[in-house]
């Protein structure tokens, strides 16, 4: 969901699956993706069997550094240690369940439609996010921002990005993309009212991702 292939390419070197660039956030428009990483399951016939949900293949690397260990601290640049001390408690508070997610994915790969993690059509639609009219507008505003930024007009792009944030404040992909174009570290800038750390602190890291609901919902 990067702004360009150039931004994404270093992170996709050597992978053996297709990688595509979604600068306009079509995944947000078509499926309701609002943060990364998100996973969507599509079966052999092109039927969606799980709508977007938090999809960590493993715990985030930055959460795994043991900052109590002097050897680990000595191996990292001082600025990185300081940043990690601030960010790590938030990363650890985020609701992710890599083991559960990967387990469910493997179960579906092995058992297909018989896997309990392959959801009914009714439940897929019910689980997909509500889209009030202003969020539909947010998608159109964000796409304008990305287009204008890519076309070399960063100032009008900022106005449309801000509009997308106003219209859909709970969309992290709109915020993180815009902030990172203004400052790769997503710190405070003149262009935006919020920034990554401030927004995570205000909203609470435990709400950064919706909790995974792997099991199908039981109906009465």
């Amino acid at each position: 969901m990067d702004a360009s292939a150039a931004a994404a390419a270093p992170f996709a070197a050597g992978v053996d699956f297709p990688v595509v660039v979604d600068s306009g956030h079509r995944l947000g428009e078509l499926f309701g993706v609002v943060n990364v990483p998100s996973g969507i399951w599509v079966d052999e016939d092109g039927t969606v069997v799980r709508p977007p949900e938090t999809a960590y293949p493993a715990p985030p690397t930055f959460a795994s550094y043991d900052l109590e260990d002097p050897k680990v601290v000595a191996s990292l640049p001082a600025a990185a240690v300081s940043r990690l001390r601030t960010v790590q408690p938030h990363l650890k508070a985020m609701q992710i369940d890599p083991e559960g997610y990967v387990g469910a994915l493997r179960d579906w790969v092995a058992h297909g439609p018989a896997s309990r993690f392959a959801l009914s059509a009714e439940e897929v639609l019910e689980r997909s996010r509500p889209r009030p009219a202003e969020q539909a507008q947010a998608a159109a505003a964000f796409a304008l921002g990305q287009h204008l930024h890519a076309a070399g007009s960063p100032e009008p792009a900022v106005a449309w990005f801000r509009e997308s944030h106003r219209l859909q404040p709970d969309n992290w992909t709109y915020r993180r993309q815009a902030w990172s174009l203004a400052d790769p570290a997503q710190g405070p800038t003149e262009q935006y009212d919020g920034h990554w750390l401030a927004d995570v602190e205000r909203e609470g890291a435990e709400h950064y991702y919706a909790p995974l609901e792997l099991e199908p919902r039981r109906r009465g």
Binding site: P18, V20, V21, F31, I40, A55, P130, A136, A141
Partner: protein, 107 residues
């Protein structure tokens, strides 16, 4: 907007009787289609989709339908996105395999 461009961008074919996508057809107000051109504002309004305009750049942006949920069908959309080297890659090229769409970003 020319009829064929709208079909390419949105999957909706505008005909005299209305806009059609697969088995679904929606009647359009008279005058929406004229000389092979679709009145995009009339189309957007009828479909419940926002149409934003950046006047200085002369750009229009058509959003998704609002008022319901993000997904209205479990049939995967005809999504085509460019690979890292710019070739168009249709999601449908993976039909016959299980697909995990992994949404990620460098930020």
């Amino acid at each position: 907007m020319p009829v064929d461009q709208l079909a390419r961008e949105t999957g909706w074919e505008v005909k005299p009787e209305g806009a059609c996508r697969k088995e679904q057809c929606v009647p359009l107000p008279p005058g929406t289609l004229r000389d092979g051109q679709v009145d995009l504002a009339a189309f957007a309004e009828r479909m419940g989709r926002p149409l934003l305009h950046d006047e200085p750049a002369g750009l229009w942006s058509l959003g998704p339908s609002g008022g319901g949920r993000a997904m209205t069908t479990v049939q995967a959309p005809d999504l085509v996105l460019p690979t890292l080297t710019g070739e168009p890659f249709p999601l449908a090229a993976l039909r016959g395999k299980k697909v995990l769409i992994a949404a990620w970003a460098s930020w």
